[in-house]
């Protein structure tokens, strides 16, 4: 029941946005719903309802039960979702100011948030799956929100097809598990699932989670999804959507590691981290760089999960929510103040403290500058790695990721050195700034809070050695990036070409996607041809029968002589045949 009360405000605001004719109210209503939800979740912390279940329906001896839980993981996730949704709605009040179709937008955002929270409270696979699909559909609509752009529709289609593959895989996993256990409750699965079937279903669920979390080889939809409005990206990349996959793995972690799938999580994570960080270095689309950064962060979380370092995963999970939300909102401010330009080489930034400070905080937090969130999260993950090869790869990746994220900062900064623009060019709606300030504050506050809390909560300890190594690598990336992109040492075309050549893995992945579609289409064409021939064959058979009937018709010509002759011939043949026998 508490789950229903939890999602009710957003569902109501979504319905109101759908029904209302006035487009000025839907935004504030959604904001109100967000605030109510935050308050409601705060109450849950003090008055925890625990695990609640409701019998949905029963078939024969089997009952399907929907279970909602307010366990610690669920609560953390709920808090993050409600907070980020509210921030995104606040940001959208300004961002969506100049566009029509606002009601539609707030309706989708509201339903998205509601679906996400339903997912977050789920403690059985069916509830989780319901939320899982709802957010998939809502994100599909949100990614394709700018419907007049063909690229947006293409991106939405790409996203939804990849996500649908994930849905089907997860569904298949659930079906397998149910057939073995006749239950989909997570706690029951954790205690009882063993054997080959459980392993296969764990594999299917992990594969599904990889699609949602945009991990290799399903990661390309996320960069295409940048066609969506920026607040949507901020929401999808910070607390929701991509986190859903990681969350699913995290709450099923004992089951999945028990099935021996740790190496798969680590492998997918490593591949994603490497590909994403290299791609991010060559991409010039302001949001795609951040998308790759998200893929990298999620890869780190998957690596931590693969090493059973749930604490490290949760830590990065929480910090990433705030800093990724912040940096996307900054990206929105940058594009908005540059006439919707998305190429970082053409973007310049205002030097006003109110704009540049959140930008720097965001970048520093993403990179992991001490004492901001990314620092603790990333070091916790790297420290959890128990494999030297993986460790070495992560160290190299750390330099690259520090490089690309500072590049993301330095290129616009360098542009604004040369360009002279008046202050009014960088005018930004207040609600956008408000959201950015609140998030900057949250990034700082959570980071500082963690310094105090880590001792109390017995979180992952960070050694000075690990911190020192990390900071040195970060500094190397920073210096390289400064020299290359701020001092423009990378302006010689040769270097840039070679950089982009080694880093165009995205093209290859997209080619593989296209190949798969081509193959399916080819098989479809073959089947189509077969079907046509089958149909023609049937028609041909009918036609042939008709011809035979015409032939036989000729024997019935009414002539007595003919009939008599036929009778005599037949009689002779009959006599011969019988006598031989």
């Amino acid at each position: 029941m508490f789950a229903l009360i939890l999602v009710l405000p957003f569902i109501l605001s979504g319905i109101l946005a759908m029904v209302l004719r006035n487009d000025k109210l839907s935004g504030p209503i959604a904001l109100g719903a967000g605030i109510v939800t935050i308050a409601r979740i705060a109450i849950l912390y003090f008055n925890n309802p625990g695990v609640q279940s409701v019998n949905w329906f029963s078939v024969g001896p089997y009952t399907f039960t929907l279970i909602a839980s307010a366990g610690p993981m669920h609560l953390i996730f709920l808090a993050l979702i409600s907070f980020m949704s509210t921030m995104v709605i606040l940001y959208s009040l300004g961002f969506m100011n100049v566009r029509s179709e606002r009601n539609l937008y707030y309706m989708m955002i509201s339903f998205f948030a509601a679906g996400m929270m339903l997912f977050a409270v789920g403690a059985d696979l069916i509830t989780l799956f319901i939320g899982w699909e709802l957010i998939g559909l809502a994100s599909y609509l949100l990614i394709g929100f700018w419907r007049y752009k063909e690229s947006a529709i293409k991106a939405a289609n790409k996203a939804v097809i990849v996500l649908f593959i994930g849905d089907v895989l997860v569904f298949a996993g659930i079906a397998l598990l149910w057939s073995q256990l006749h239950s989909v409750s997570l706690s029951y699965i954790e205690a009882n699932a063993t054997g080959a079937i459980a392993s296969i279903s764990a594999l299917l669920i992990v594969a599904g989670a990889l699609t949602k979390s945009a991990q290799f080889p399903f990661h390309e939809w996320l960069t295409a999804a940048m066609e969506g409005p920026t607040p949507v990206s901020a929401l999808l990349h910070s607390s929701t959507m991509v986190k859903a996959g990681a969350f699913l793995i995290a709450i099923m972690l004992p089951f999945i590691l028990g099935a021996g799938l740790g190496p798969i999580l680590i492998g997918a994570g490593i591949a994603s981290v490497v590909i994403a960080s290299i791609n991010a270095l060559s991409t010039t689309h302001i949001k795609k760089v951040l998308a790759y950064s998200t893929i990298e962060d999620m890869g780190l979380i998957f690596i931590a999960l693969g090493f059973n370092a749930i604490w490290a995963a949760v830590l990065l999970f929480v910090f990433q929510t705030f800093y990724k939300g912040l940096i996307f909102m900054n990206a929105g401010i940058l594009t908005k103040s540059n006439k919707d330009e998305t190429d970082i080489r053409k973007i310049s930034t205002s030097k006003r403290l109110g704009i540049i400070l959140p930008l720097i905080i965001g970048v520093a937090a993403v990179a992991g500058v001490f004492p901001l969130g990314g620092f603790f999260g990333k070091i916790a993950v790297v420290s959890a790695v128990q494999n030297y090869a993986v460790y070495a790869v992560l160290l190299v990746v750390e330099i690259i990721s520090s490089m690309y994220i500072f590049r993301w900062l330095f290129v616009p900064l360098a542009n604004s050195k040369s360009k002279k623009k008046s202050k009014s060019d960088y005018a930004v709606p207040n609600s956008m700034l408000a959201a950015v300030y609140i998030l900057s504050f949250m990034v700082l506050a959570t980071s500082i809070a963690w310094i105090y809390l880590s001792g109390i909560l017995h979180g992952p300890m960070i050694t000075y050695q690990a911190a020192a190594i990390f900071t040195v690598l970060l500094a190397i990336g920073l210096v390289l990036s400064y020299l290359l992109y701020y001092r423009k040492l990378a302006s010689n075309a040769k270097l840039r070409n070679s950089l982009s050549r080694i880093s165009d893995i995205g093209i290859a992945i997209n080619a593989v996607y296209k190949l798969v579609i081509l193959i399916v289409n080819g098989i479809g064409a073959a089947v189509d041809l077969f079907d046509y021939n089958l149909y023609s064959g049937l028609k041909g058979t009918g036609y042939g029968l008709g011809r035979i009937s015409v032939l036989l018709e000729k024997t019935e010509n009414g002539s007595i002589n003919y009939y008599l002759g036929a009778f005599v011939v037949a009689a002779i043949i009959a006599i011969i045949v019988f006598s031989v026998i």
Binding site: W56, F57, S58, V59, G60, Y62, F64, I126, F129, I130, E133, L134, L137, Y140, L141, G144, R147, Y148, K149, E150, I153, A156, N157, V160, I161, F164, I165, D167, V168, F171, A172, A175, L176, W178, S179, I197, I200, V520, N521, I523, G524, A525, V527, D528, D531, L534, Y535, L538
Partner: protein, 467 residues
Amino acid sequence: MVPITLIVIAINLLAIGLIIAFRQEKAKAIAVGAAVVSLLLSLLMIVNFVHSGNQLGPLYIPYLNLGLTFGLTGISAVLLLMSEIVILVTAVSGNTEKAGFKASASLISLFQIAAFGIFTSTNLLLFFVFWDIGVVAMFLMINVLGSERRKAASINFLLYELFASAMLLLAIILLYTYTPIHSLNISYLISAVTVLPANVKVAVMLALFLAFMTNMAIFPLHSWLPDAYTEASTQGSMLLAGILTKFGGYGMIILFMLSGLMGNYLSYIGGLAAVSVIYAALMIIRQKDLKRIVSYAAMLEMGVILFAISASNSVATYGAVYGMLSQGISIALAFLAVGAIKSIFDERNIDRLRDIVSGSKSVSFAFATSALSILGFPLTSGFIAAILIFFGAVQGFGIYGLVPLIGVLIMGGFMYSVIGNCFLSKTKPLKPSTLPTASQRFGFYALAFAIIAFGVLPFLIMGLLRL
């Protein structure tokens, strides 16, 4: 007391007479009235059944053990409910072409007789009679009201259905001759088939299977389907895909209940169904006509349902029934939406259809709801069906129970891109010429409501099925 089925038949015959007698403006109202009364009577019958079980009518040829006996089972009650809903909506809003009012209305009433009769008949002879009435009604509906290539499509349809009828009749004769007390009562046959000689068993099995398989449009006996569905008028497609194929599905469930008859063939039939599903999915992605896409989606769903039936356990069989409930309503809604799109934009080619959502929100909502239900999206009836079907199928077939999901996957990817391109994309938008009429909007919302209601409140149906 007179069996309710006979009352329904009388009412609909009366309705047909009135439709013929009155002017064509009155035709729709009469058909709707008859459909409403039939729906209410079906509810009454279901309520009676829930409270006091079956009340069987008199035997009218006692010495042949044949009679006008009508009753319900949990399964047929669900299918009856579904078909009554679909027929009512078809009568109200199916005529998107706005032509042939008298023919449309009278054929809907005729089909009503068939649908009501077949799901309430308790013996195979009545089953056969109503089956053929349904086939005739649908043949006329395609032949009289369809689009350009309707003649060829209707003959094609009739040939396949005649084959199915012949097979059904053959099986009925065999069953009647070889059962010890010469009865065609379904509840009796379920246990009596064990005493049949082995070769008769095989013959009966084969004949019934071919009959129902043809009706369900399972590969390779599906060739009637795409043309029939596409060439039929909207109300024809709705009834054909929504209800007529359920005759075969219902028969197939009965066939699998005949004890021990199918035991050796389950995995072959499951394999055939899986092939049919993937085949249909691969055909879908080659289509350009929105109506053909929906047609093949209907074929795919029937393949999934056969797959579930062949898994032959309670969960999967319930899933098959729920799947038929869900598929009947969703496909009818999809055809209604496509018919409305055709009348609004005068276009069905997915390469040219753009931005339907700006043209008409209700049509887009209707099509999206039905497509999501077909894909088994949560909170639609298709989800409950998908859960039960695949959970049961995996129980029956192990990991092979997941094979049809490949077909669903291919169809899903294509469906989503159709929705994206045709409904959402604003590039090169088409101008709508009209808006959906009030009666069409009623159809959209009624069926969409049914889809969501059956998706959120499955326990209503499950309670009925358990009886």
